[in-house]
């Protein structure tokens, strides 16, 4: 009868191993008893998360009163048992077992990507098996790299069966089998078909438990990367380290408030992010290697839309520290830092020069992308924690704040100053700057555009300008950028939605002059770009096509090409030669003691999630500076151990991405109503079910090598 781990609790068993009296639980194997007591017994097929198999023959031992060399992984302990793990016969038995394992295994440690992470190599080192009495053979089986995520090299398989047990017994998926080709055995799918067609769930348990290089992660996905970040790349790619698989699982299980709490453990703007995050997680999602990535942002929005508000019961500021912090700027970086600093017990005042809080979330991003009530709701939550936001107050110098007795200052003023290209005609009437244009629109100022608009730039801000121009009545909107279409910095959904709204994109264009008629913009003159890149000094290198000069008519031109912070003269912190605020990239401290800086003001225009992450980092640094622990992470969601069993996955790989729908272009270009509709409950359930649950793999225990004993 096989012994399963962690059987019901009974009184402990006492036995003697190598002369030492040790204790273990009833039902444990002799191997487990030895390892638990720091007595190393070499083993290969056994794995702490899998039922034992007893096939590799390495873990043989001697038991007093029992003949031969029992296999310790399948021998249960019994009271008073006397075990020896080292003797000449045991050594001979282990060496023979090892020689049999190595006989068909290629001698290519030197080029194997598994080297130094390989149990077989470590065992070979431990047992000192080199000259083999068993005849070596080359299997010469083809290596299969046709599947997404994994490479199968049957030549390296030692038939320990861990992958098969993991697939069937740990995960309940059941797609890996023992196979035979010629005289050689290995493991693969039943009909040798692709993993995607067999019902594989791509959980990676097989690769995780494989003790050799027979099933490996594809190098491009893991090489030179932090292991955890590479194996759960959505979480690894999130600047704010949001635990994506965990909240996706809560959505799958129907516990939407818990999903929101997971997001809230790292950010105070879940819903804003659900609308406007540029989702670097989706670019890394391992499901993307199979068909399409999970719609992570849409799921985030779905969770945020199902907020029951109960998380607030578990969030309250720590006792007062009597420290006062001034935050300059109420954008995502400033408000995030303010929120966490407030929760650490500090008194926090945020100064905002514009009439309302939100920074670029309000004065940059247009309302059709981010409904104002969403933004206002989340800002109100921050204020509810006791953060004071002082709007319409421009801070002219740091000294002003220090004189008012603030113990520390965070500069998070964003990058609100745009720029024009230095080309002829740039000062013509009707030539606008992106930031000023968007700010005017969002302030409700008069911001008329002509019928024909050209936006210069290819990023998300450029799209904001172009799409707002359409909404203000422009009949024809062109966008021109240096990059070729594939390299445009704007996100894919902006490009798609912009084109749906009739915006004409002109990639690989460089503008040489603004054409004018009596001082008013009349068009833009362009050259076609053959190639565009940056050299080692980050200087743009543009190669144009001779004779490609052409013009596009326009009555309004909007420059959307790079922004920097608006720092008042004599503000009192160092400004770099890129017009950014100089701050240490790790500590975010400036050249002045107690003054920190975060967000776009430090990095230049980045993204909302990067600004939030920067705000978090600043909160940690400021809190430490003020004598706090710097521990700002919250435990809000229930700690639930996920089920390791996934069950059969027939059709799983083919499930395609569920994306939210958009309002029809003709219904949206005339107004500022929300474009993206979000996911309905059924769609969210379907989409969350597509998740590979990559994080389960990190729950699998790591086998310790002999050197750790």
């Amino acid at each position: 009868m096989p012994i399963y781990k962690h059987m019901t609790k009974q009184s402990p068993i006492r036995l003697t191993i190598d002369g030492r009296e040790v204790e273990t639980r009833a039902g444990a194997s002799v191997l487990e008893a030895a390892l638990e007591n720091a007595i190393y017994v070499p083993h290969l097929c056994d794995h702490p998360d899998l039922p034992p198999a007893g096939v590799c023959g390495l873990c043989v031992i001697e038991i007093e009163g029992v003949g031969g060399l029992p296999t310790s992984c399948v021998t249960p302990v019994s009271e008073g048992m006397v075990v020896r793990t080292q003797s000449e016969p045991i050594s001979r038995g282990r060496r023979l077992a090892m020689e049999l394992l190595l006989a068909g295994h290629p001698v290519d440690c030197g080029t194997c990507q598994k080297y130094l992470n390989c149990e077989l190599q470590s065992l070979k080192q431990y047992l000192g098996v080199e000259e083999s009495s068993v005849r070596r053979r080359a299997k010469l089986l083809p290596v299969d790299s046709s599947n997404p995520l994994f490479i199968h090299d049957p030549n390296k398989c030692v038939l320990c069966g861990r992958c098969v047990r993991a697939c069937w017994e740990l995960r309940g998926v059941g797609v890996l089998y023992y196979k035979k080709r010629g005289r050689e055995f290995y493991t693969y799918t039943d009909d040798a078909g692709p993993l995607a067609e067999t019902g594989c769930r791509f959980c990676g348990a097989c690769a995780e438990v494989c003790p050799t290089g027979a099933i490996q992660d594809k190098q491009e996905l893991v090489a030179d990367k932090n292991r955890k970040a590479a194996l759960v790349p959505c979480r690894g790619a999130c600047p704010a380290e949001i635990d994506v698989p965990r909240y996706v699982r809560f959505i799958k299980d129907g516990d939407y408030p818990a999903a929101l709490e997971v997001i809230r453990e790292k950010v105070p703007f879940p819903k804003v992010l659900g609308y406007v995050c540029d989702h670097p997680c989706e670019a890394e999602c391992r499901r993307g290697e199979i068909n399409q990535p999970i719609s992570i942002r849409e799921l985030k929005r779905f969770a945020a839309e199902h907020d029951d508000g109960l998380w607030k019961q578990n969030v309250s500021p720590d006792p007062p520290t009597d420290k006062r912090v001034a935050v300059v700027g109420s954008g995502p970086a400033g408000l995030t830092a303010a929120y966490y600093l407030r929760l650490q017990g500090h008194e926090v005042t945020v100064f905002e020069s514009l009439p309302e809080a939100g920074g670029m979330l309000r004065y940059g991003i247009p309302g059709y992308r981010l409904p104002r009530e969403v933004l206002e709701g989340e800002i109100r939550d921050i204020e509810d924690m006791g953060v004071v936001i002082d709007t319409g107050t421009r801070v002219e110098s740091i000294d002003e704040l220090l004189e008012q007795g603030y113990d520390a200052v965070l500069v998070a003023v964003g990058a609100h100053t745009g720029q024009k290209l230095v080309i002829p005609g740039a000062s013509s009437e009707g030539a606008l700057i992106s930031t000023e244009f968007l700010r005017d629109v969002n302030l409700g100022n008069d911001a008329a555009v002509g019928k024909k608009v050209v936006v210069l730039g290819g990023g998300n801000v450029a799209f904001d300008c172009a799409r707002v121009a359409r909404r203000l009545g422009a009949a024809e909107v062109h966008m021109a950028c240096l990059e070729c279409r594939e390299n445009m910095p704007a996100s894919a959904d902006e490009i798609e939605q912009g084109e749906d709204e009739g915006i004409v994109i002109r990639p690989s264009h460089t503008s040489t002059r603004i054409l004018d008629r009596a001082g008013r913009v009349a068009g833009v003159e362009f050259l076609d770009v053959a190639s565009f890149c940056f050299d080692e000094e980050n200087v743009p290198q543009i190669e144009v096509i001779d004779g490609s000069r052409h013009a596009v008519e326009a009555d309004t031109v909007i420059f959307a090409m790079g922004q920097h912070p608006d720092v008042p003269e004599g503000f009192g912190v160092e400004v770099t030669d890129r017009s950014l605020i100089g701050a240490d990239p790790v500590t975010l401290s400036t050249n002045r003691e107690g003054v920190f800086a975060a967000g776009d003001a430090v990095s230049g225009t980045a993204s909302v999630i990067k600004a939030i992450a920067s705000g978090r980092k600043a909160a940690v640094a400021l809190d430490r500076f003020l004598g706090g622990s710097g521990r700002i992470d919250k435990k809000l969601a229930p700690q639930v151990e996920p089920m390791p069993c996934l069950g059969p996955g027939k059709g799983f790989a083919a499930l395609s991405r569920v994306a939210g729908s958009c309002a029809l272009p003709e219904d949206r270009v005339g107004n500022f109503c929300t474009v993206a509709m979000g996911l309905e409950e059924g769609a969210a359930a379907d989409e969350s079910t597509r998740c590979l649950q990559c994080d389960l793999r990190l729950k699998i225990k790591t086998v310790e090598f002999w050197g750790s004993y």
């Binding site: 290519d108 090598f705 050197g707 750790s708």
Partner: protein, 489 residues
Amino acid sequence: MTVGSIPSTVDVVVVGSGATGLAAAVTLAEGGAKVAVFEKQRSLGGTSNFFQGTFAVESEMQRERFITFSRDEAFRGVMEYSHWLANPRLVRAIVNESGATISWLQEQGVVFTDATINMPDSPRTYHVIKGRGEAVVKALVTQAKSQGAEVFSGKPVTALLKQGAKVRGVVVDDDGEEVEVAAKAVVIATGGFANNKEWIKKYSGFDLGANLIVVGNMGKAGDGIRMAWEAGAAEEGVSTLELFRVAPVGPEFAMGCELELATAQPDLWVTARGERFCDESIGFWDTQVGNANAKYGKNADTFSLFDDSVIERVADRGLDNNVGMDALPGRKLVNLRKEIQAALENGSRDVFAADSIEELAGKMEADPAVLETTVDEYNEACANAYDALFAKDRKYLRPLVGPRYYAVRAHTVFLGTMGGIKVNGNLEVLDKKDEVIPGLYAGGFDAGGMYGDSYPIKGSSGLASAFALNSGRIAGKSALKYLGRWEAL
């Protein structure tokens, strides 16, 4: 669990568990110092698991075998090979220590099977290990632990800590958490930067993975060198690589497969254009063939050509050129046809077969006219028993006559980077003013100064592992002196 938690204070931290780090750790532990070894990989030993033998002069084993090659001769040989670019005090220290290190390793439980040599015309400096480097790693880890040293695997050191000019400890990455370990001295032995694409490009101009393939190194990012440089250490020898040539390379070809052995034989080798580029018998000395291949293989691959007569010869008479100690001269290749067949069936981009030189050139994407001329001229040289082009020894002039012709793509391969941190003869790390950084030591592939622009294999085979072992030993002794423990021994 098994090992204890990471100590907050030790006498010496050793960074890396290869031959350098372990030799230092055992030496230090023998001297009574409290030592912690931190290895970033799960398995111990790194690249040191691979070496099959090690260089030494005036060892007891050599004395027993009437091998008279002396320390002075070895010293002069290494220095002359480097054109005195190497650091003479460092070379002298390593050479002088080497003989005693063999006996010391024997005391640790390492078994040497012979003192010999593994290439023609070279002094017998090569001490062959039973169970190769893996056995050295096993023995030294076991000894270090029994002497009280602690060995942690899967725990990278990420930074050096200094107080004023002196080293005061390290930062260890303990599964994502940064832990400080205070130490009076630190020995850096992380094994170079062979897997660091950016540095390889910067310091030696190769594109790692494209025109240069790394063997036997995993995850070598240059951690130790970076940390030492950050702590003010000067640079030395950072551009030297231990080069050689291998055909074919790829996941479908095991290292040491018969195809690899066959293509190392001194038959006919050509550039991608189809021209000979060296006296093929320089293949006996890895550095020479590595340098020659790199010269022509930086922009395109080279090829080893052979025919059925070669396949019959290596099956019948066996190898001329050995590959390591597992495939010595005379080894007969019995699976070669099977391996070629499997490679062709698997659609390899490295192995080609054809019925004519012209057809073969097409598959290699070489110029058929050039390749035909090359083979004609080579066969003529064979007929005349004189290689007017590269003066290859006539005993290796054997024509290619078909009926089938084969070409195997060859790559420039390297076994490690051979410099980085400037040290003196005591393996103390030097700053940019040549002042010692108190408490900081480096050895093995992290330390520079042992070589000039190439690895001196012909006169001192096994020197890379010897440098690791002996630099580790000397660094350990120097650190004991620094701790005031050496006199106490």
